[in-house]
C-alpha cells in the first residue's frame, strides 16, 4: 500500500496549520530509582501526520508516552502541544488540551456498558456538575442527546453498535481494542497518542484498525503511535522516530531509516546489518 504524501491529507485545514507542529518535546528526562528510563528525548510531530515511535524494548517509548500524556512528570525537559507548553501538566489537563491517549493493555471501564464507555468520554459535560444536575436539567438532557447521537455513530463506525448495551468487560480482546480506539475518537482529539495499538491482535483486525487510523487522519487528526509492527509502520506512517536507551536515535521515513547504520544496528535486525556489512 502506498501512503499518501503529507500535502494531500486533510485538505480541510489551512496550510499554515498543516506546516505547524502538533507535538514537540525537548530533552525529556525521567528516572525511576536508579534507572534513567528517558535520557534526553527530543523530537517533533507535524500536524496532520501519522507518525510512529519505534525502538527496542526498554528504549523508553512507553515512558515517553506517559510523560507526554501527563501520567508522569518529567524530571527535566519540556513539551509543547500545538504550540502550547504542556510540560508537567497532569493527565486530565493534557486531555482537555486535545491530546487523547490509549493504553497498551486495553483499559475498558468494565462494569459500564459499551455505550456508557463512550458517553463518559466527552469533555466539559454539563451534567457532571452537581449544580447543573438539579438546577439545569434541560441543558443536561440536551447535551446528553447530542452525545448519544455521536456515540451511536462512532459505535457504528467501529462495528460495536450491536454490543452497545453489553458490559464492556464482556467484549472479546479485539473488540476491547476497538472500544479503546472508539473511546479515543469520541473524545475528539487533535492529537491521538496510541500505545501499541496493534499489539497481540490478529492480522484482520490489524488491517481494520489501520484503516480506522487512516480515516481519522483524513479527517484531520494527527496520530502518533508507539508500535513494534514495522509493516504497519511502513504502510500507514509518514514519519518515524527511533528511540534507543532513552534517547532519540534518528528520525525520518522508514526508507531513510533502513539505510541509517546506527538504527539498523540498534533495532532493525542483526541479520540485516550482517548482510550489508559483507
Amino acid at each position: 500500500m502506498v501512503s499518501l504524501p503529507t500535502s494531500q491529507r486533510g485538505d480541510a485545514r489551512s496550510s499554515a496549520e498543516a506546516s505547524s507542529e502538533a507535538l514537540r518535546c525537548e530533552e525529556l528526562r525521567k528516572a525511576f530509582g536508579g534507572v534513567q528510563a528517558v535520557d534526553g528525548a527530543s523530537f517533533s510531530v507535524l500536524a496532520g501526520s501519522v507518525s510512529a515511535l519505534i525502538g527496542p524494548n526498554g528504549a523508553g517509548k512507553s515512558t515517553v508516552v506517559n510523560l507526554l500524556a501527563g501520567a508522569l512528570k518529567p524530571s527535566s525537559g519540556k513539551a509543547w502541544l500545538f504550540g502550547q507548553d504542556i510540560t508537567g501538566w497532569p493527565a486530565h489537563r493534557v486531555c482537555r488540551a486535545g491530546l487523547v491517549r490509549t493504553f497498551q493493555l486495553s483499559r475498558e471501564l468494565g462494569r459500564l456498558t459499551v455505550l456508557e464507555n463512550l458517553m463518559v468520554t466527552p469533555r466539559n459535560q454539563v451534567g457532571e456538575s452537581l449544580f447543573n444536575v438539579f438546577f439545569r436539567p434541560g441543558s443536561v438532557k440536551q447535551q446528553e442527546r447530542q452525545h448519544l447521537g455521536r456515540a451511536l455513530e462512532v459505535l457504528g463506525a467501529f462495528g460495536l453498535y450491536e454490543m452497545r448495551d453489553n458490559y464492556a468487560r464482556e467484549l472479546s480482546g479485539g473488540q476491547k481494542r476497538l472500544l479503546e480506539l472508539a473511546r479515543a475518537v469520541m473524545a475528539e482529539p487533535r492529537l491521538l497518542l496510541l500505545d501499541e495499538p496493534m499489539a497481540g491482535i490478529n492480522p484482520a483486525l490489524v488491517q481494520q484498525i489501520g484503516e480506522h487510523i487512516r480515516r481519522l487522519n483524513a479527517q484531520g487528526v494527527t496520530v502518533l503511535m508507539v508500535e513494534h509492527n514495522l509493516n504497519v509502520v511502513e504502510t500507514i506512517c509518514d514519519h518515524v522516530v527511533v528511540m534507543a536507551e532513552g534517547k532519540v536515535l534518528a528520525t525520518g521515513t522508514m526508507a531513510e531509516l533502513r539505510a541509517h547504520p546506527e538504527v539498523v544496528r540498534a533495532y532493525l535486525g542483526a541479520a540485516q546489518s550482517a548482510s550489508t556489512a559483507r
Binding site: 483499559r107 471501564l109 462494569r111 463518559v120 457532571e128 438539579f134 442527546r145
Partner: protein
C-alpha cells in the same frame, strides 16, 4: 400498644438507614471510596443537630457540650448535614491526593478511631461518653403528642425526608455525574486520561455522602432524644457497609433492601436462636458476628448483592429522538 410502638420504631430505623445507606452508596458504591469512617460522619450530624436544639447545658448539671442553641429543628437538621460535610471536606483534602484504596481506608479507619477516642476523652466537646441527651422533641410546640403519636408523626416526617433524599440521589446516580463517578471507581487513571477531574468528582461524592450521613444522624438523635458514643463505634460503619453490599452495591433500591437488614437481623433474629435467647447478654455479640459472617458469605457467593447495579439505559433519550440515530 406496645406492638404498635415497637413496629413504628422498626419503621423509623428502616427510613433512617435508607438515608444512611444512600450516603455511603454514593461514596462507595458509585465512586469506590472506602470510607471506613462513615459512622463518624453520622455522629457529627447527630451531635450538631442535637446540640443546636437542646440549648446550652444547664449550669447546674454536669453536662458539657458546645454549640448549645435553641434553633428550630429543621434548621438544626440541615446544620447537622452541613457539619458532616465539613468533616468530609477535611478528610477529602487529606486523602484524595493519594488514590490507592487501602491508604484511604487506613486513614479513614484511623480517623474514626481517633475521633471516637477524642470525643470520649475531651468532655467539653460533646459530653464525652455520656453524649447529648434531653434533646427536645420535634413538633412538640406544634402538636400535642404522647409517646405513641410522636412516633407516628416522626415516622411520617422521616418518610418524607427519605422520599426527598431518594429523589435527589436518583437524579445524581442517573446523571452524567453518576456516570463519571462510576468511571472513577472502575479506573481512576483512565478517567484522568479522559479529562475528568478525579479529585473534584471524589470530593463531590464525599460531600454528598457526608450530607446524607449527617441528616441520618440528625434524624436518629431527634427520634431517640439522645446520642452517645456507644452508638457510633467502628462496627456501626460495618453494619452500613454490610447493608449496602448485601442489598446490592450501586443500586439505590438495593440500599433500601439492605436497610431492612438492620432491624430484621438485630431485633428479630435473636428470638429464633434458643441458646442466645437464654443469654440475653450475648445478643449484641451474636448479632454482630452474624452480620460479619453474612457479609463475607454474600461477598463470596453473590458479590453483586441481591439487586445488582442496574445497567445504564438510554432508551428514554432515544425515544425522544424518534428512535433514530
Amino acid at each position: 400498644m406496645q406492638v404498635v410502638y415497637y413496629a413504628f420504631t422498626l419503621v423509623f430505623f428502616f427510613f433512617a438507614y435508607c438515608v444512611l445507606n444512600w450516603g455511603l452508596n454514593i461514596q462507595f458504591g458509585e465512586a469506590g471510596i472506602l470510607n471506613f469512617a462513615y459512622i463518624a460522619f453520622v455522629a457529627v450530624g447527630a451531635y450538631v443537630a442535637g446540640a443546636l436544639t437542646a440549648g446550652p447545658p444547664a449550669p447546674g448539671s454536669n453536662e458539657s457540650y458546645v454549640l448549645g442553641a435553641h434553633l428550630p429543628f429543621m434548621v438544626a437538621l440541615i446544620c447537622g448535614g452541613l457539619a458532616a460535610c465539613v468533616l468530609g471536606l477535611f478528610a477529602g483534602l487529606v486523602v484524595f491526593r493519594r488514590l490507592r484504596s487501602d491508604y484511604l481506608a487506613i486513614v479513614m479507619i484511623s480517623l474514626s478511631l481517633v475521633a471516637y477516642d477524642f470525643v470520649t476523652n475531651y468532655v467539653p466537646l460533646f459530653d464525652g461518653a455520656d453524649g447529648i441527651s434531653g434533646v427536645p422533641e420535634p413538633f412538640a410546640g406544634v402538636f400535642k403528642l404522647n409517646a405513641n403519636s410522636f412516633i407516628f408523626v416522626f415516622d411520617a416526617f422521616s418518610a418524607l425526608v427519605m422520599v426527598v433524599m431518594w429523589w435527589a440521589m436518583s437524579r445524581i446516580t442517573r446523571s452524567p455525574l453518576g456516570r463519571a463517578l462510576r468511571a472513577v471507581r472502575e479506573d481512576a487513571d483512565v478517567a484522568k486520561a479522559l479529562g475528568k477531574n478525579v479529585f473534584g468528582l471524589q470530593m463531590a461524592a464525599m460531600l454528598v455522602g457526608s450530607f446524607y450521613a449527617g441528616i441520618g444522624g440528625g434524624l436518629i438523635i431527634f427520634f431517640s432524644g439522645a446520642f452517645n458514643t456507644s452508638s457510633w463505634t467502628t462496627p456501626e460503619t460495618f453494619v452500613v457497609f454490610a447493608a449496602l453490599i448485601v442489598g446490592g452495591l450501586g443500586n439505590n433500591v438495593g440500599a433500601v433492601l439492605g436497610s431492612l437488614l438492620v432491624p430484621v437481623i438485630f431485633v428479630e433474629l435473636p428470638k429464633f436462636l434458643p441458646t442466645v435467647a437464654s443469654q440475653p447478654g450475648l445478643v449484641p455479640e451474636v448479632d454482630n458476628m452474624v452480620i460479619g459472617i453474612l457479609l463475607i458469605a454474600v461477598l463470596w457467593f453473590r458479590p453483586q448483592g441481591v439487586l445488582p447495579e442496574p445497567k445504564a439505559r438510554f432508551d428514554a433519550l432515544l425515544v425522544e429522538r424518534g428512535g433514530q440515530w
